[in-house]
Subunit: 266 residues, 6 copies
């Protein structure tokens, strides 16, 4: 259980859902261990948040455990989406913990927001990768079937075709150097997705496709805090078991930052 | 390159082929790193083999590199099989290095032997796993579409249905305790497949589904030496990057033991 | 949750209880991660056991989770004992997963057996260690306050005073070399405790005080199978997070071997 | 021996003392390996310091080895304090290397300074943790029994009650974002304690309770250099063996920065 | 093969050469694994570079494999230099991947540039180390036998004698704090050498002598991009296998940044 | 300090000497960390030995620390030999802890025994390796300049030329399968050298050139116990820092087994 997520799923305002999908990871596998790692490294945290003067246990967060993954990604995403729709139907905010980034497609579909805000080193705008239309590298494109706009913060890698796609009106790319200047300027409500590889590998080595020259943890936290009040869904993805805790401890902290900022804005 | 595999692929008597498939691994991923790990840990070996009084470099072994894997296992196996058929057509013996056990299906199809001899902790006789008919846990069943008989040495795990299937006439199961007594008694030629998890996890922790109470390295070597003279194809699979070298060093040594025994019997 | 431990605690025949105590570990810490590791490495196992022709999920095993540990060992043991007494009162067999060996004191007190059978590299017969009467190195002595006899299998280390204590009538020590000859010859019912360091460090490096020249996994399994039919409680302890899975995968398998053997003898 | 600490303890100006206490670590253990790790990772350093134009070996630093720890923290702290008093009595500056943060209580008691300056992610102002009044999370409070004022630099975590305690006149908290602005403005002499978790986990993952959004190494060095001239004692704590050298190499360098700055101000 | 380095060595504009020398590493060994690690961690990268709008595979980069190293450093450097001279003679730019920093001596000798620009935590201006005139700590001095000027960016460690040597007219040292201000102001052409330990250990822990308080990855990339247009040779050295990918992923990315910047300036 | 080696070097009956030479390791480096690792993993042992009824601390063992190594192997061996001669002159038995196997040359030269008994996977009878006459792979040959006979127990690897050399009268090779049958049958006194790679890699993965199909720990201990009474010098070598403690804990235990057996035979 995510530490402090003591609420019952039925009464919760926020529901942690683990989604250990790990089939399309193209370089280093292990995203399947993400939910475990994130929960484990959250054990060292204080319940109390000084920044918002709130106690995590008092915020009605539940942990629904993991939605067991298998290797048929598309089927799994349908199943996961249904689980997340239940969370949304109960007026709770889903807090999805990946697993590979593909799971965001289920999160976005369940929440049906106007905008996707995503922290990511990669554009994830491919149509397919190695013939797989459900690769983690396609997730922003899938989300664009639902949302009106995608804002990709910290992106520094993509194919030629992806950068072209990013030039269209429904995508905004903010390079890592400019993320500290960005403020939420979109209309409507949002879904916030944190691909941990948005961070520089020094701060999050345990991820499938580390990409140097990334964000600092504080830049990521600032985005999370600013977007949270307008977000109806959240995920943090692509944490694996390949480091000494840097990636999961950052992921866990960003999840908490989301909850604290969201709750204090209500 | 596998150390000592200096021959040209076209002139070779043995061809190392890496097959880093890693999609259906159900517990611990990393089989994609198997070919690299096996080649790397072979660097510490002497070229000369005292047991057979042969030099490895003199045995016309080539290394064809890896057949790049993607996540559509069935397509990949077709492609891999074609590559291996080329090897067989050139009268060379393929030495496949996985990757997950599923790749054996391609090896067996390319070699078309009478018998499959497999060292494995698991029966791998499932029809599917989590809906996937090309899971590593189905590979012996797939091989039975080609071979007349499968001999599974060291098996100690399987589902109820797999054990039932194993009772049929075309399957022989030798439990770990009896492997040291077993001698090749089959008719025709063989394909020898070594799932490294046949070994006790103390000797091969770096594998996808370690299973205690397994074989000793010498028991495995004895089987390899005895089967090699009658084998037309070989693989060693399920080595990952999750240990301190125990699994890949054993795998590399067994591959060499196969070549030395096969060559000295010609 | 321990894989397959799907029963409700209230209706269970066996109850897994994690006891992540980790305060007196004198050399390498990390026993606190034992319950997590043991549960995680059990994920790779088949549900079905061919040896006894039983399905694990059908044996009414529940997982009660962990009894959160703090650093006042004596208090903690009282609390843990009360939890385990509840299990015993419900006619279930407790399956304790440590944590340091000290937790066996709670297990023995709750079960109140006639005999303690313990697999351990160490005698654990100290009166105190560094002034601590509740050190892991004292646990057999504590158990002797409850049981009539202690049988220590695989012991190869102890202080001079411990070996003297071991000469008394209520203690039987079987050195590693003789364990394969030993058969249960005690009167009454037993509590079986497996300190994973009974195994040779090659088979279980992830433990607090590894001691070479130990048992093989099969020797340990044989003892577990033979003692289980007469045991009313079980634990496996001293697994930490310092290896590549060897210790937890063996521990998980021995726990299952206990359940399978116990259930099939009923 | 800390590299370059070649002086005799009796003639030394500075004395390194290892204090491998590791009993109350609440999340990840291993602080017991801190002294070893810090000494080991200092082996790669040049003796000469360009910043102050001094040679480390010429500064009369001795290494008194470790004060062997056991699990009765309070007793141990008394014993350690006595050892450190001997250092102080000989007009040497103690350089304590933890071990968990609790050991600072002994350092402060032995040095008896006016002010405690502490770099830490945590307030460590608890009265007890899980009933333990000598937990690492209580050390600043214990120090306040001796000092007139505590300045906690980089703090970003604490319970509600700790933050309230921090509001009292004898505590100053400087959040991570403001540390680069802070300059020593206290009266009297100081004891400087460096909890390595003050750093962002990217720079010091090997610590018991990593807390994202922390300080950079240069911010920490600046504080050490500015406080050293007014400090009569120093420690660096909470380094464990759970990373690839980042935490111990930073700790070792900060210890040296302290000595260089202190010596050049004399 | 370095991913995307698909050109033939004979037709290439750039040639990757691995130089796994690892004999004089004074603290942590493993530089021999640098070429493998750098190639492996480059597998996660996109072929396309948005910054320069170029595709890596289109830039005629070849990978010549490794020049097998042995422990007679001076002999090895002669041999390596000859290999690199062949590359230069073919009008290609060598991209050397160490191995220890000593290999730069061969690179500089083969390229014969006017200036050496080196990113390094260390001055590497020793005459010998432990009696070895071919230690990695002497490489800048060796290069000065060829070049007119050496610019050492990010240096923060050296012996007293090295700093004195650095005061001479042919050496410019830019401390880490000033690297972001530096721009190439030298005459003639350059050889650019990247000792990965120039980075702060948080960003590159896997190196032989990590030295805190170093450069950020972006600072290093800026230097690479600015120097590349005037450089005729490049290397990245001192990456070992002792981290979770931070050092090799940064090294691989800097190598690519060099190629992209160099190619787009032609 | 090796735990329990409390005697003064001048009065000692046995003197531990660390020799962290690590220059010729051909595959995996790290032998330089051997002395540290062996001492550290001995910390978990009881002082008392039940087998011989002796206390280690009572046996007058001293620890002289390490003889700092540099990369000129031949010079270093001379220096080391002189140190060891001092030990021998004081009528103490040297207990050398490597470092690479080359250090045995110094040990043998200092002790000047009639026979070398060596546990090793490798013959180490080369004249040179890659041009280096002081490679670890030459050490038995160097020893044969001093001793009349070398007995190599557990050898399973060597070049063709080495096996030929092994056929001469002054060398006896006992293959791993026959080691359990071997008993000391030589004349005169001995020097006993334990290359940890004699063990199967499952029991000692942390070594430079692991070689499967090796000895069990008990087989090695039996040899140590039987040879010790006739030995005047001992070493254990080739332990590195690349495993989870298996190699160093076995090495430390074999060193102690030597001392216990030697002392009880006096
Ligand atoms: Mn992504
Ligand atoms: Mn990404
Ligand atoms: Mn298999
Ligand atoms: Mn298997
Ligand atoms: Mn025990
Ligand atoms: Mn024990
Ligand atoms: Mn603290
Ligand atoms: Mn702290
Ligand atoms: Mn350098
Ligand atoms: Mn450097
Ligand atoms: Mn050797
Ligand atoms: Mn050897």
């Amino acid at each position: 259980m995510f530490p402090g997520a003591n609420a019952d799923v039925d009464d919760a305002a926020y529901v942690v859902v683990g989604a250990p999908l790990d089939v399309s990871t193209s370089f280093q596998p292990g995203a399947r261990f993400g939910p475990d790692r994130v929960r484990r490294f959250a054990r060292g945290f204080e319940d109390y948040d000084h920044h918002t003067d709130q106690s995590f246990v008092s915020l009605d967060v539940a942990d629904a455990g993991d939605v067991h993954a298998w290797d048929a990604a598309e089927e799994y995403l349908d199943f996961l989406e249904a689980e997340l729709r239940d969370v949304v139907r109960d007026d709770a905010v889903p807090l999805l913990v990946g697993g590979e980034h593909t799971v965001t497609a289920a999160g976005v579909a369940a929440v049906d927001p106007d905008v996707l805000v995503v922290l990511d080193a990669h554009l994830d705008l491919r149509e397919e990768l190695d013939g797989n239309p459900w690769s983690h590298a396609t997730v922003t494109r899938h989300a664009l079937e639902t949302v009106d706009e995608a804002v990709v913060l910290g992106a520094r890698a993509g194919s030629d075709a992806e950068w072209e796609r990013a030039n269209e009106a429904d995508v905004t790319v903010v390079p890592p150097e400019d993320v500290s200047e960005w403020t939420p300027d979109f209309d409507g409500d949002a879904y916030l997705s944190v691909d941990i590889d948005a961070a520089d590998p020094g701060f999050a080595p345990g991820t499938g496709t580390p990409e140097p020259f990334g964000l600092t943890p504080r830049e990521m936290r600032r985005v999370v805090r600013d977007v949270a009040p307008r977000a109806a869904g959240f995920d943090v993805v692509e944490v694996n078991d390949g480091d000494d805790g840097q990636a999961p401890v950052l992921a866990a902290k960003l999840l908490r930052a989301f909850v604290f900022a969201h709750a204090s804005s209500r």
